[in-house]
Symmetry: C2
Amino acid sequence: MVSSEDVTQLHRKDSQAVLGIDPGTAVTGYGVVLRREEGGLYLLECGVIRTSSKEPLPFRIREIFRGIQGIIDRFEPGSVAVEDVFQGKNVRSALTLGHARGAILLAAALQDLLIAEYSPREIKKAVVGTGNATKDQVAYMVQRHLRLKTPPAPTDAADGVAAALCHCLVTGSPTG
Amino acid sequence: MVSSEDVTQLHRKDSQAVLGIDPGTAVTGYGVVLRREEGGLYLLECGVIRTSSKEPLPFRIREIFRGIQGIIDRFEPGSVAVEDVFQGKNVRSALTLGHARGAILLAAALQDLLIAEYSPREIKKAVVGTGNATKDQVAYMVQRHLRLKTPPAPTDAADGVAAALCHCLVTGSPTG
């Protein structure tokens, strides 16, 4: 992790921040990874946007949208990598998750950012080398790639970081 | 239907326009119904927002969002009635529809509008008097309630009008 002063400098230099997002109506995880021209990858920030199930759905969507907008404002990423996942069992919960994803994609599209979507399998393959990797293997490789003292936490934030990292690894060098 | 000059006057007078929406990723139908203090209901406009399946999903969501934003800007409704429907068969299409609904609810929530959601059954019950009404019965009653020469068209626009009408009928007088 780099200091916020460094971040600004790094950022201005080549503007290659990637925002990774693991969408969810209750918890949306995110991670911002910077790739520098020489190829180094740095975790700038990770975290979660939580919404309360007591709030009406439109308010929760608005909170997610504003949260993502705020992150985009602060880091000005060039690309957004969104995890394309649905593990739920029924149509109703897919519909609800779609609302959150819609708000996230919209926040990115309104800024004309490059948007990439990756399945959990693609993310595991890019980060660990195999689509069947366990959560622990992913956490370990994320930590190694980004030279962190501990894996990103909580889990949803780690998934956001993994999505951003996947995008960096898949798309190769910033000039490529 | 009233002329646009009348609309402005009617609108300023009591500001009771209701925007009804039938969400869809490909076609989103809408109708704007005005209710005046004396209880009369008027259709101000109806139409559809179409998006191309050739466009990436984030662009389509953005188009729907901007379309709804534009309608809200023009008519300044106090309430938005959204049809809460999913007739698809699989989780993937529910997820996709959720994206469109998310963008619509967000456009309304960002303006702090009152948002009501109605199932197709609730809409039929309010407009026709029975939740088992046919499409034709709904079209006929929409036409009668709003004193139109022909039913609203196309179908998706008519569904948006029916949602707005349902909200007006369910919530009663504008002062109530």
